[in-house]
Symmetry: C2
Subunit: 221 residues, 2 copies
């Protein structure tokens, strides 16, 4: 969809990341929402940042919350698809949980804008974002299911509630990026290792998890 | 400071938590900032929620960012003072780190509003909040110092960067409260235990840490 809409020429040359006007709008909105704030950003400001007329922007997104919803959807689509691919895989639960955390941490670190910082917006608790919340809950459910399997494999007496921690540890990338201004290099190893450690699983699974991640990535291409 | 300012009677009876108008303003702002959003809340809305005239509110806080700064300052003051008290204590680093995490998790769970959700506001990265950021960095520094001591005591080969995780694990209470709507009962045990586990320290220190926390709490009274 590279069409800008009838009789709506661009105000100027493209200046954003993205192959299509839609992708450029999302890139500009991602920057403005994370650096100026969602409530402080108008659709006019997004259109200006892309070099589009506001009417052209409305051709792609009817309202500001549609832009936010599209940005949020992108943050869960990849890890959710990856988690679904893992669900039936024969690797051990520890290897699968490590691979999921690694996939997710890599995406959180590589994303141009720290979109996870938007998860705590009060706007997200409204009905408008119920579908997004369900998708994110589904991803969280995959983490908790794998964590329960890891705990069951260990047969250890688990600390109550510890199955929630792997998902939350992965989310800490968002806070670290926010405070440090950049995604730290150590995150890609430190966080998946910690995901297993909080469950009391201390084995060496990284090499196997990386191989699993790569084999699934190839299968999706 | 229970004085409302000259010739400025309340519009109606007090309806907020708090012993003073200042505390009531902070309580109302805490609710509005976390449920409607900071940018979406005017000082007028805060004054209305307290039953004060806007001019009376300005007697206590000259601008909206002063209210936010005061709310944020409250979130770090307690744990920072507690961490300073721990710094010279003779208990092991693991016991002290556990006690600090427990103190902090209890406060994050008990606070009437989930104010930590405001930490990711883009506004906090401006010069106006530099002093707050320094105080929070100081608290983070206490966590990292204790974590390094725990790692040194263990003599184990630490995963690079793992000293940052205890502080980040404690912050996950904020995300859990935001998603679940309430502070979960298990957090007070699960998170301090996880703080030691991510460092590879698996010992049983809870009873000693709770005793330390209580002795320091008594000393401060």
């Amino acid at each position: 969809m590279t069409n800008l809409g009838p009789g709506r020429p661009r105000l100027e040359q493209r200046r954003r990341h993205g192959q299509t006007p839609r992708a450029e709008i999302l890139d500009a909105a991602g920057e403005l929402f994370t650096t100026k704030g969602y409530a402080n950003t108008s659709t006019r400001a997004v259109a200006d940042a892309v070099g589009l007329r506001q009417a052209s922007l409305y051709h792609h997104f009817a309202a500001k919350d549609d832009i936010l919803d599209a940005l949020l959807a992108e943050t869960v689509a990849g890890p959710l698809e990856f988690a679904q691919g893992l669900a039936a895989h024969s690797a051990s639960a520890a290897v699968r949980l490590y691979a999921l955390a690694l996939f997710d941490v890599r995406q959180l670190c590589a994303a141009r804008w720290n979109l996870g910082a938007l998860y705590l917006l009060p706007e997200l608790r409204t009905e408008r974002f119920a579908a997004f919340r369900l998708r994110r809950d589904e991803l969280r459910g995959h983490y908790e299911e794998l964590a329960r399997l890891v705990l069951a494999d260990l047969g250890s007496r688990a600390v109550p509630g510890s199955e929630v921690l792997p998902f939350r540890l992965v989310e800490t990338v968002i806070n670290i990026r926010s405070d440090e201004g950049v995604a730290p290099e150590y995150a890609e190893q430190t966080i998946p290792e910690a995901v297993l450690r909080v469950l009391g699983a201390a084995g060496v699974v990284r090499a196997e998890a990386v191989a699993l991640l790569e084999s699934l990535a190839v299968a999706r291409e």
